[in-house]
Structure formats: structure tokens, C-alpha cells
Amino acid sequence: MPEPAFEIPPAEEAARAPSAGAGDGYQVRLGVFEGPLDLLLFLIRKKRIDIHDIPIAAITRDYLGYLERKTEIDLDREAEFLFIAALLIYIKSQMLLPRETDLAEGEDPRRILVDRLVEYQKVKAACALLREKEDAQILQWKRDFLPPLPGGGEPEPVELALFDLAESFFLLMKRRAAETTRTIRGRDVSVEAKMKELVGLLRERHMIDFLEYFEAHASLEEALISFFCVLELVKSRQAAARQDELFRTIRVWLRKDARGTAAHE
């Protein structure tokens, strides 16, 4: 077995391949690469090669060496890595074909790969810049609710929320159905008891995260009942519910004018 055709510099080593095996030496995790193009760029950079003039035989060897040392990739990703491997081998074979005249630049068999690499390299560089912007924005909090208007009372998201609620519920049910193939034995819960519990919780906590509350239930039946309790409270205008975005959580709180009476219902 010849020496491996590549070595990973220490800095990259830490960044690129975090899992070091205990006794069996060094394990390369292909998973740290976003894809085959990412791996190729890494190899090209490491060799300090001009991307427009890739020594295709050497890079193909490195690339295949990497694939052989893979420890964990799933089948889908494997196909993507193998596709580029096939492309590399194809280009290599094209380069070896005897030709009568020198190739014009446009006919360089490497062109198809180089164009993709250049494009991908740009996207990756743009990512670095966009990440900086993301990091700056993520620290600044924008308001996602309507502030109180003078004499305007509460903002009226109620009707809106009811539908959002139903939609989220649908999604939840679906998820739940997918998750629970096991049979769940629920204890008997009455609507009245659940209602009392919910109102008590709302009074105590001021506002609850409905999805959290929903998920906390042991059985589907109990969760269902709690959902209908929320619907009932909203419908009877004792509570308000609001979802700011699809798939986001729903906040439920008692309406101010109902805080005194809700408990007695």
C-alpha cells in the first residue's frame, strides 16, 4: 500500500474531521463536506492547485482515496459522491486519448467540471459573507406583534388564530399519527376537568405555549380534549390565541375582561 496521496493539515484536520477513532488511527468523516464539490475544492486548495488547470489524474486519485476511507455516508449522499467520481474518471480518460492537434480551450474535457467548481466556489464564498449578515441580524430583535392602539382595545387576531390553530392541529395530528404506532392507553379525562386545569394554568402562568402544553399530554385523547378546551375558550371570548407564523407555536392567554370569570365556568 503506497503512502496516502494526501495529508490533512492540522488546522483543517480539526475543522474537517472531528471524529478520531480510538485505536484504529484516523477516521475521515465525509459528512463534514457539504457534497462532492466541497470535497473537491478542499482537495484542490490543499494541493494549492490552480482551479483552471487541475492535474486531473492526481485529483482523481485523492478523491477516490477519500471515498475509500469513508466511514459514514448514507446511500443518497454516496450516489452524489460517486457521480462526481465517475465524472473525474471520464475526464481522465478523455485527457489520455491521443489527439492530432492541441485542444482548443473550449474543448478541454475538464471544462465541465471547472465551470461547476468555479460556480460552487462563488456560492461558498458568498455564504461566508451572508453568514456575517445573518449573525449581525440575529442579535437584533424586531417586534412581531401589533402594539396597543389608543382606544383600540386588544388587537383582534382571534378569528385568524382559530384557523391557524386548526391548521397546526392538523399538522400535529399527522405528526403524532406517524410517531405513535404503539397503542396508548389513556386515562379517562373529562372536558370539565381539563377546562378547569387549563384555566388554572392560564391564570397562574399568564400565557402558555400551546404546542408545549399539547405535547406534554400522555395520550392523544387527552391532547385532543385540551385542544377543544382551547377552542371553546377562544370561541366564548374568554381567552385569546395567537400564532405569528405557520408552524410556529401558539400563544394562549386569558382575556383581561375574562380573568375574573373564567374560573367559575
Binding site: 494549492r48 452524489e80 456560492v123 464564498a125 461566508a128 459573507l129 445573518e134 442579535l139 437584533q140 401589533l146
Partner: protein, 181 residues
């Protein structure tokens, strides 16, 4: 502060989305655009100087209020939110490919990245950072994607013109090359 500044302050404050100059003009019938612009600028400058807790930021073609970055930790503690998660590398890469090549199809994005991008695209759709804008006239009539207004807000861009330019990208690549040498 002038009356116009006060008014503009109230309007930018109350809106849930960036308030554009056009919208301010529509509300403040008859006030010249230049005056409105000057009022916003004066207002924004007032918040920027002398250390304040909030400020006016420009994004998505308009203005809106946001807390200053310095207070992130306390704001999260108040709202009881863990550190906000950034996009994954795959998500960001997919978003960048869409931003620079829009309008694009899923398979075009996947081709640029060299990996299937369906999952990442779904997450971006859910986060409303990208949107479906129609179909491409091509075999199979694939769906076509673009970045959304939310995308501009998410990255604090005024418009797509503010995406990092070719020159900036080239500079990053040069720096990388220099670092390797």
C-alpha cells in the same frame, strides 16, 4: 423633534413590516417625499447616537425598529428564548444559490451544490425565506423559486442589489488563496 419626526416615529414604530417611503407618503398626504426622508434620517440619527436600546434599521426597502445587538442576551432572557439558531451550512448554501441565481428550479440549485437540495429547500420554504413564483417552461414544468421579502429582512438587506457583489466574493477567494500560500 419636529412634528413630522414624531409622526414618522409613530408610524415606523407601529408597523410590523418595514415601512417604505411610498407608504409614508400615502399616509402623510401632501407631505413632500424629501421632507419625509429628511425626517426619517433625523429620527434614525437620533436613535443611533447617544446609545439607545433600540434603533431604526433599513431592510427590505423600508424602515423598522429593532433592538440593538448589545442587548441580545437580556432580550432573550426576557422572552425566554434560547440563542436563535442560524441556518445550517446546507440551508445557507441553498439560500445563497437561490439568491444569486433566481429564478431557479430545485434541480438547478442541486446542480450548483452537487447535492440534492430538496430537504434544505423545504426548510427555507417553511421559514418563508424563499417562495414559489411559478413554473419554468421546460420539460416537466418544474417549480421556480425566488427569495422572499422575509429573506431581505432576515439578512438586513435593503434590496437584492445589496447582496455581496462579484468583487466582494472575488476578494474573499483571494484572501483564502493568500491564507493557503
Amino acid at each position: 423633534m419636529s412634528d413630522l419626526e414624531n409622526l414618522v416615529e409613530a408610524l415606523i414604530f407601529v408597523s410590523q413590516e418595514p415601512v417604505t417611503l411610498e407608504r409614508l407618503q400615502a399616509v402623510l398626504e401632501g407631505v413632500p417625499a424629501a421632507d419625509i426622508r429628511a425626517a426619517v434620517d433625523a429620527l434614525a440619527a437620533g436613535y443611533e447616537e447617544g446609545g439607545r436600546g433600540i434603533h431604526i434599521v433599513r431592510a427590505g426597502g423600508g424602515w423598522l425598529f429593532a433592538t440593538k445587538p448589545a442587548h441580545d442576551r437580556e432580550v432573550r432572557r426576557l422572552l425566554q428564548i434560547e440563542r436563535r439558531s442560524r441556518l445550517s451550512p446546507a440551508g445557507l448554501e441553498t439560500l445563497a444559490a437561490i439568491a444569486y441565481r433566481q429564478p431557479v428550479t430545485q434541480s438547478e440549485v442541486s446542480a450548483i451544490r452537487g447535492v440534492d437540495s430538496t430537504g434544505a429547500l423545504k426548510t427555507l420554504l417553511e421559514k418563508k425565506l424563499v417562495k414559489i413564483v411559478g413554473r419554468k417552461k421546460a420539460p416537466g414544468s418544474p417549480l421556480v423559486y425566488r427569495t422572499s421579502d422575509e429573506f431581505l429582512l432576515y439578512l438586513g438587506l435593503d434590496s437584492l442589489d445589496e447582496l455581496p457583489s462579484e468583487e466582494e466574493i472575488a476578494r474573499i477567494l483571494e484572501e483564502e488563496k493568500a491564507a493557503d500560500a
